[in-house]
């Protein structure tokens, strides 16, 4: 409330409330302090996650991401959860800066609670979450202060499957198979080959096999990946994120490589 009669009926903030009908009690602030002059914007990601994969299958969406957060070339945190449920219908998975991802989780949680308190039968589905994230990401990039992430948003609502991508530039893209980071180069061709045309017939076991195969290839080839990963499954029944799975790999071929195997020359 405004206690100062001199403010009543005063010129309003046209950008926000053109008719001055909502309580805008503060006069426009023009005083930027000296500290804010030295504030810098995000230049580079520090603690990072690598690829996230996702495909559409018969019952819904399957998404996978490993449990690693790297600190440059150091495999620093090996039990990080990069898949996050939002409401009852959606999962988001992110690669890139992990602190920015944690921030996104916080604001999405706030949004979920806000939607819950309305208690009016409406809920936010994957399409709405994706649109919201796209607006946030693009707005941040326009301020030259991006949230340094590549995010996959997947879910099922009202019987409709949804899978889409949004990144630090605010670019969005939708397809039946998606992958971020190295996954986009290495796994995407494998996913496309296996899934395209079969989005409505692939069973859960088949989808899991496709995902697992791609995760294995990524572990062999991506130097910032880990062989411990989780899979999220979203169907009409809801969201379920698995416990960490271990990836079986075979490094016996290394025996034959000079300098790595038994041979020294």
């Amino acid at each position: 409330m405004d206690h100062f009669p001199t403010n009543w009926g005063r010129p309003r903030n046209d950008a926000i409330d053109a008719y001055g009908t909502y309580p805008i009690h503060s006069r426009p602030k023009n005083d930027q302090d000296a500290f804010s002059a030295g504030v810098q914007r995000t230049q580079q990601p520090i603690v990072t996650g690598t690829s996230v994969l996702a495909i559409k299958y018969k019952d819904g969406i399957m998404m996978a991401a490993d449990n690693l957060a790297s600190y440059g070339s150091l495999a620093r945190f090996k039990d990080v959860r990069r898949l996050h449920p939002v409401g009852d219908h959606t999962v988001i998975g992110a690669g890139g800066d992990m602190s920015d991802f944690q921030y996104l989780q916080t604001i999405l949680d706030e949004l979920t609670i806000s939607e819950f308190t309305a208690q009016d039968g409406h809920s936010l589905g994957p399409a709405e979450i994706h649109e919201y994230l796209a607006q946030v990401m693009y707005a941040r990039r326009s301020k030259m202060n991006p949230l340094w992430n590549s995010i996959l948003v997947g879910g099922v609502k009202d019987g409709k499957k949804f899978l889409s991508y949004v990144d630090l530039l605010g670019t969005t893209y939708s397809a039946s198979t998606l992958a971020t980071g190295y996954g986009g180069h290495i796994a995407q061709p494998l996913l496309r080959e296996a899934v395209e045309g079969r989005e409505d017939t692939l069973t859960e076991e088949q989808a899991l096999a496709i995902i697992e195969n791609s995760m294995r290839v990524l572990f062999y080839r991506d130097a910032r990946s880990l062989n411990k990963y989780q899979v999220a499954t979203i169907t009409a029944a809801g969201v379920s994120i698995s416990e960490s799975k271990h990836l079986e790999t075979s490094w016996s071929f290394a025996e034959g490589i000079r300098g790595y195997g038994a041979q020294t020359q």
């Binding site: 008719y19 009908t21 309580p23 009016d120 409406h122 399409a127 709405e128 649109e131 919201y132």
Partner: protein, 284 residues
Amino acid sequence: MFRNTYDSDNTVFSPQGRLHQVEYALEAVKQGSAAIGLRSKTHAVLLALKRSTGELASYQQKMFRIDDHVGIAIAGLTSDARVLSNFMRQQAMSSKMVFNRPIPVNRLVSSIADKAQVNTQEYGRRPYGVGFLVIGQDNSGPHLYEFSPSGNSYEYYAMSIGARSQSAKTYLEKHYEKFADCSFEDLVRHGLHALRETLQQDKELNVNNTSIGIIGPKSEHEKSETPGGAFRILENEAVEPFLQTMRSKEELKEEERQALDASKAEEATGTAAPAADDDVQMSG
């Protein structure tokens, strides 16, 4: 109405715990010409009586489109209506932009209700002098809401606001149980009958003073297709086919008499006597 010491400021409670300025704002709504809203399982309809200042003047617009899935009819201060409807449009657009979803109608109505409440609590402001009937549709079907300057909003099956709206309300209360399963044409016909109740002695509904707002699938009297059942306003000639479907008051009385005879066995106590001007309530 009474005048007393507690009614000149927005920020003063009367000893009975009432806010007189807000109650006077409700009077402003009653000064506006009537607007009726009703809904069925498939459609929601608004009907409004337009006024003109004289023979040479045009008729005041009573309905506004807020978004594809929301429309309003106003009664009261038109300038306040413009400000609030602009705000509603901003809210609706914001929902589309941020979430890519049409704003749930109940939340839209709550947003203006909350805005109006602020105006009832601070000195130097006055309550809005306009009431709305809001129709909209979302995935739970068509809806009708009433918004009043007190900051209260309610969802109704049928409602009327504005001058002489009590007569319309009596008609609506008598017939509302039929509305859910009504065909669209029947629904509009009921609405027109109710609107007719608010007319003064020698006046009648015609193509100039009646406007109809519709949400729902296209009806047979409409010429153009409206994708998704979007909100549209019918005025002037477009209203004529609907006016034709109206039955005269004598016919209606006859129907009623027959219905009453048919249920002679039951002691029909009828509807409870309509309470004195219960248009809008402030406390629950």
